[in-house]
C-alpha cells in the first residue's frame, strides 16, 4: 500500500532502522489505515492474539512441572494442582484459555462469514486462517491428552482410530501414530512434543495471516472497497487499538470469572480419573469446541463415510471463497443471505448440542438433518444465492450513509 517513507527522529534510531527496519514496521502497524466503521466483531483478532500468547506462556511454565510419561502424567497434574505455587491458577488459565481461544475463533470466523471477508481479494487471509484453525484443533486435542485421565485416553483412542477408516493403509497409519498397538506411553510423549511445537507454528502462520491482511487492508461492516487514507479511514493507533483493548478487557472479565468461580464447568469429571485402558467411560465426548464435527462424524452410518463427512465439512470451508458466487461482500446488503447466515449459526449450534448427546432416536435423526443442512448451505445455497438474490444498492463510501441525513 502507498505509505510515505518513515524516517526515525534520532540518529541512533536511523542507524538501526536502515540496517533492520523494525522501527519502520512498528510505524506501519501504528499508522496502518483502518476503516473507521469497524464494529466490535472486529476486535476478536486482537483477542485471539492475546489468547495465543497466554496459552504459550502458561504452557511453557506448566511444562516445567508436567511429566510426559504414562505412569506419572496424571500424578504430575495433581502435583501441579496441589503443590506447585499458583499451579492451580496456571493450569486453570491454560485449560479454560483453550476454551476462550475457541470461543473467540468461532466468533471471528462467523464474523468473516457474515461480512464476506473471505471473498476476493482476501482469500489468502481466509485460507491461512483456516489452517490456523485446524492446527488449533490438533493442538488442543493433543493438549487434552496430556493430563492422562479417562477422557484424555479415550478421546485419543477414538480420534486416532478415525484414521483406521482409510482403506488399506489405515491400520498402518494408526499404529504409526500410536507408536504401539494401542494408545500408550509412546503416544503420550509424541503428543507432548507436538503440543509444544504446534503453537509456535501457529505464531508463524499468524504473522502470514496479518501480512496477507495488510496487503488489501481490512474489510468493514458495509463490505465496500475503500480508498486507504481517505476520510473513510483512521490510523490503527490509537483509534482501533483502544477499541481492541476495551473489548479485550471485557473478554478478560469473563475469562477471569470462569477461571476463579467455575474453573471446571467446561471440563469433564471423568478426566479426574486416571487413564484405564480396560474400561471406557460410559459416555465419551470431546471438548465442546469439537462437538459439531463429532456430530457430523456420527451422523453417517458408515465408518469411512463419517470420517469423510467430518473432514469434508472443514475442506468446504477452505474453498468457500469459490463456492460463494455473490459479488456483494457484506450481508447487510444481502437480505436473503442474512437469513441463511443465521440459519447456519443455528445449525452449527444444534450440531454442537447433538454432538454431546447419545446418537439414538431423535438425536440421531436431528443430527443427520443438521449435517445435511450444513452441506446444503455451502454446496447449494451459497452458489445459487449469488445468482438469484437481489442485493440492496451499495453506498459509494463509508461516509456516505452517515452524512446523508445531515447534509
Amino acid at each position: 500500500m502507498s505509505e510515505e517513507k518513515y524516517i526515525p527522529k534520532s540518529k541512533i534510531a536511523q542507524w538501526f532502522d536502515s540496517r533492520l527496519p523494525l522501527l519502520s514496521m512498528a510505524h506501519h502497524l501504528r499508522e496502518y489505515p483502518t476503516p473507521k466503521n469497524l464494529n466490535y466483531w472486529w476486535t476478536f483478532g486482537g483477542i485471539l492474539t492475546f489468547c495465543l500468547i497466554t496459552q504459550i506462556i502458561t504452557g511453557v511454565v506448566l511444562a516445567m512441572h508436567y511429566v510426559a510419561h504414562a505412569d506419572l502424567a496424571f500424578e504430575s497434574i495433581e502435583h501441579i494442582m496441589r503443590n506447585v505455587n499458583y499451579g492451580w491458577l496456571l493450569r486453570y488459565v491454560h485449560a479454560n484459555g483453550a476454551s476462550m481461544f475457541f470461543l473467540a475463533v468461532y466468533i471471528h470466523i462467523f464474523r468473516a462469514l457474515f461480512y464476506g471477508s473471505y471473498k476476493a481479494p482476501r482469500e489468502m487471509i481466509w485460507i491461512i486462517g483456516m489452517i490456523i484453525y485446524i492446527l488449533m484443533m490438533a493442538t488442543a486435542f493433543m493438549g487434552y491428552v496430556l493430563p492422562w485421565g479417562q477422557m484424555s485416553f479415550w478421546g485419543a483412542t477414538v480420534i486416532t482410530n478415525l484414521f483406521s477408516a482409510i482403506p488399506l493403509v489405515g491400520e498402518g497409519i494408526v499404529t504409526w501414530l500410536w507408536g504401539g498397538f494401542a494408545v500408550d506411553n509412546p503416544t503420550l510423549t509424541r503428543f507432548f512434543s507436538l503440543h509444544y511445537f504446534l503453537p509456535f507454528l501457529i505464531v508463524g502462520l499468524v504473522v502470514l495471516h496479518i501480512w496477507a491482511l495488510h496487503i488489501p487492508g481490512n474489510n468493514n461492516p458495509i463490505g465496500i472497497d475503500i480508498k486507504q487514507r481517505s476520510k473513510d479511514t483512521v490510523p490503527f493507533s490509537p483509534y482501533i487499538a483502544v477499541k481492541d483493548l476495551y473489548a479485550l478487557l471485557i473478554f478478560l472479565i469473563i475469562f477471569a470469572g470462569i477461571v476463579f468461580f467455575v474453573p471446571n464447568i467446561l471440563g469433564h469429571t471423568d478426566n479426574y480419573i486416571k487413564a484405564n485402558p480396560m474400561v471406557t467411560p460410559s459416555h465419551i465426548v470431546p471438548e465442546w469446541y469439537l462437538l459439531p464435527f463429532y456430530a457430523i462424524l456420527r451422523a453417517v452410518p458408515s465408518k469411512l463415510g463419517g470420517v469423510i463427512a467430518m473432514f469434508g465439512s472443514l475442506f468446504i470451508l477452505i474453498i468457500l471463497p469459490w463456492l460463494d458466487t455473490s459479488k456483494v461482500r457484506s450481508a447487510v446488503f444481502r437480505p436473503l443471505y442474512k437469513i441463511f447466515f443465521w440459519i447456519l449459526v443455528a445449525d452449527v449450534l444444534a450440531l454442537g448440542y447433538l454432538g454431546a448427546m447419545v446418537p439414538e432416536g431423535w438425536y440421531l435423526f436431528f443430527g443427520r438433518l443438521a449435517t445435511i443442512y450444513y452441506f446444503v448451505h455451502f454446496l447449494l445455497i451459497m452458489p445459487i444465492l449469488g445468482f438469484k438474490e437481489k442485493t440492496l444498492p451499495l453506498p459509494t463510501s463509508i461516509s456516505e450513509p452517515v452524512l446523508d441525513g445531515k447534509n
Binding site: W154, T157, V158, T160, N161, L162, S164, T175, W176, L177, W178, G179, G180, F181, A182, V183, D184, P186, R190, P277, M278, V279, T280, P281, S282, H283, I284, R298, P301, S302, K303, G306, V358, P359, E360
Partner: protein, 201 residues
C-alpha cells in the same frame, strides 16, 4: 553392514551428487546467460532437482519411521493367562500389547445361540466355529472395531457386548450385529498351552 549405515551412505552420496550438480548449474547460470534453447543446463537442472528430491525423501524416512513401534514395544508380544478360575458364564479382561482381551467361558445357551444363526443375517459373516478353538472359550480383543472403545459385556440387543461410544451391538460370538462398527471383534493369535493356560500372541 547394517541397514542404517547403508541408508546413511546412500544419503551422503545423493547429497554430494546433488551439491555437485547444483554447483555446475549455478556456475553455468553465471557464465552463460543465453536461455534460448534446451541445453545441457536444462538437463542438469532437472537432474539435480530429481536427485535432490530423492535425497530429501531418503533423509525423511528415519524421521518418519522413528514413530513406528520400537523394539521394546514389539518385544511385549505374548502374554500367558491362567483361566482355571473363570466360572461358567463369566469373563475376564487381560491386557495384551496395551489392548484389553476378553476371555469368556460361554454357557451352553450362548454357544447354541452363536451357532444357530443364519450367516446371511450377519454384517460380517463368519461362522462361530471359525472364531473359537474350543466352543466354551471365546477369546477376542475387547476393542470395538468402530473407533476402539471397550464394549461392555452382557449388554446390548444380542446379549453379547454393547459399545457405549457410538452404539455398536455384538452377539455372543462377538460378531457385529447393529451399529456403526464395520467388522466383528478381532480374534488375536492365541493357543491353549494346557487346559488351564492360554498364551496370547
Amino acid at each position: 553392514m547394517n541397514a542404517s549405515y547403508l541408508l546413511l551412505t546412500t544419503i551422503i552420496i545423493l547429497l554430494v551428487a546433488f551439491l555437485y550438480l547444483s554447483w555446475i548449474f549455478v556456475s553455468n547460470e553465471i557464465e552463460n546467460k543465453d536461455k534460448s534453447k534446451t541445453n545441457r543446463r536444462d538437463f542438469l537442472y532437472t537432474a539435480s532437482y530429481t536427485l535432490g528430491a530423492v535425497g530429501v525423501a531418503a533423509a525423511a524416512w528415519p524421521l518418519i519411521h522413528q514413530m513406528n513401534p520400537d523394539a521394546s514395544v514389539k518385544a511385549l508380544s505374548t502374554t500367558e493367562v491362567d483361566i482355571s478360575t473363570i466360572e461358567l458364564g463369566k469373563s475376564i479382561t487381560v491386557l495384551w500389547r496395551g489392548k484389553p482381551v476378553f476371555i469368556r467361558r460361554r454357557t451352553q445357551e450362548e454357544i447354541v445361540e452363536a451357532q444357530n444363526i443364519k450367516l446371511s443375517d450377519l454384517k460380517d459373516p463368519q461362522d462361530d466355529k471359525d472364531r473359537v478353538k474350543k466352543p466354551e472359550w471365546l477369546v477376542m480383543l475387547g476393542v470395538c472395531t468402530h473407533l476402539g472403545c471397550v464394549p461392555l459385556g452382557n449388554k446390548g440387543d444380542y446379549k453379547g457386548w454393547f459399545c457405549p461410544c457410538h452404539g455398536s451391538h455384538y452377539d455372543t460370538s462377538g460378531r457385529i450385529r447393529k451399529g456403526p462398527a464395520p467388522t466383528n471383534l478381532e480374534i488375536p493369535k492365541y493357543e491353549f498351552i494346557d487346559n488351564n493356560t492360554i498364551k496370547i500372541g
